[in-house]
Amino acid sequence: MIKNPLRGCSAIAGIGYTEQGKIANRTALSFHTEACANAIKDAGIKKDDIDGLFIYRHFNTRSNEPDITPYLVAQQLGIKPDYLSEEANCARSHLYNAVSLLYSGLCKYILISYADNALLSKRTFVDEATHGEPFGDVAAFGQFGLVSAYAMAARRAMFENGTGPNVWKHIAMSTRAWANLNPRAIMHRKVMSEDDYFNSKYIVEPLRLFDCALINDGGRACVITTTERAKDLKNSPAVILGIGQSNPSYDIHQSFYMTKNSGAKRASELAMHMAKVTHKDIDALQIYDCFTYTVDLTLSDYGFYDYGHGEEFFNDKKTYPGGRLPMNTSGGLLSEAYFMGLTQLTEGAIQLMGRAEERQLGVLNGTKKPNIVLCSDNGAALQTHNCTILGSIDTL
């Protein structure tokens, strides 16, 4: 079989963290610039090496803050990239763009960033940009934003295949157990018991508070370059072995894929094919957990367990610290921090770089050093999905 030339051509070379959680005095823009500067420093390159800058979609800023644009982030970093992009509606296109631009030679060092000051802005994630209708046409019925969209998907799945809170509790609790090992995680000091999970209040039933991602201030960025260049830099690179993207696109109330065959299915097939890996090769999972149900659906669409069979999958605690298939080892969006897909991607990379401290796989009791980590990213109401398979340099 001919090797896909995109397999392993690019790698994550640096990661930028910021303070995260509830931070009283910072604009969203300031978190972008800090995360980007830290990623550049971590990669060990000069800022003028950056010739591509992508930022995730952003939520509306406060009226006394500038609107976030890639121009502004570039200006604040004092760089003049050849390529700028910011996606507007959550489509997870960043890695397709990055790998294509690096492979073609149009870019050499690409920065990807997400930041927000959602707590300072008192954001409730109402102002979503995903619905085709004018605001009033669904809001007149009391429909606002994405918690409800995922709640409706989750409810349909409960009806069709019998999934439910007895599956989702494991996703919330195992993710929290990992956060308890990560000092950076917002929920680091808060243990979650099964009672805590079931006692957390409904936001939009059937989703409870602990089924929902955190809302926080902070930023996250990473530097992606060609694997050849990354080999000469200071960090051990996290090589991008495979990428897959799929955009089913339909609004939730027109969705025919809310319980199976979402974008996750096609995206994972594409990514595994490019990476030439199968399920048994995967040492750890970093699954986009905007809601617990998203993880449930993603894992079934990826083929880790059949729809509705999550209880059997999670009951042996394989995804918890010390389990044989660690998942969301930073604490994920549910318990570490919400930086869209960068929470997952940067954690996959830091684990492969061997820099995950107390939660490092291969150091933590009962775990083994990872060679292949699968990361997922998902946007809007299951309308877009990206699957990325990262590997250590030894997997090339």
Binding site: P134, R156, F159
Partner: protein, 138 residues
Amino acid sequence: MKNIILPTPNEETEFFWEGCKHHKLLFQKCNDCGFVRWPVNILCPECLSFNYSIIESKGRGFIFTYAIYHYAYHESFKEKLPYNVAIIKLNEGPMLLSNIIDCNNDELTCESPVEVVFEDIDDEVSLPKFKIIKKIKF
């Protein structure tokens, strides 16, 4: 009720809301392939034909799925908590987002048969809501 949210018809969606005002549920039906579509679309998403007619739905279908809000994202819904939002699959095909009225939230189930009931907000605006069709006892 304070600061109530109303639909915002535009040139293309006006026929739907005007229909609701007269207690009719109107949709576009493709003249070429027969597909009944929603939301409003200049062409048929099945066959890309621009030819269509407006048809009146009988207003019957079933609950595809639903969610129950325990948190008000807007002040006009505070006093309604907990309230439901549901996706209705109509017999003619379209999926419509609405509310199930005249029932307790714990009576809701996916696949329950429903029919449309128009809720008059004022002289100009009516919203298509749905109620569960109870089984007829003989």
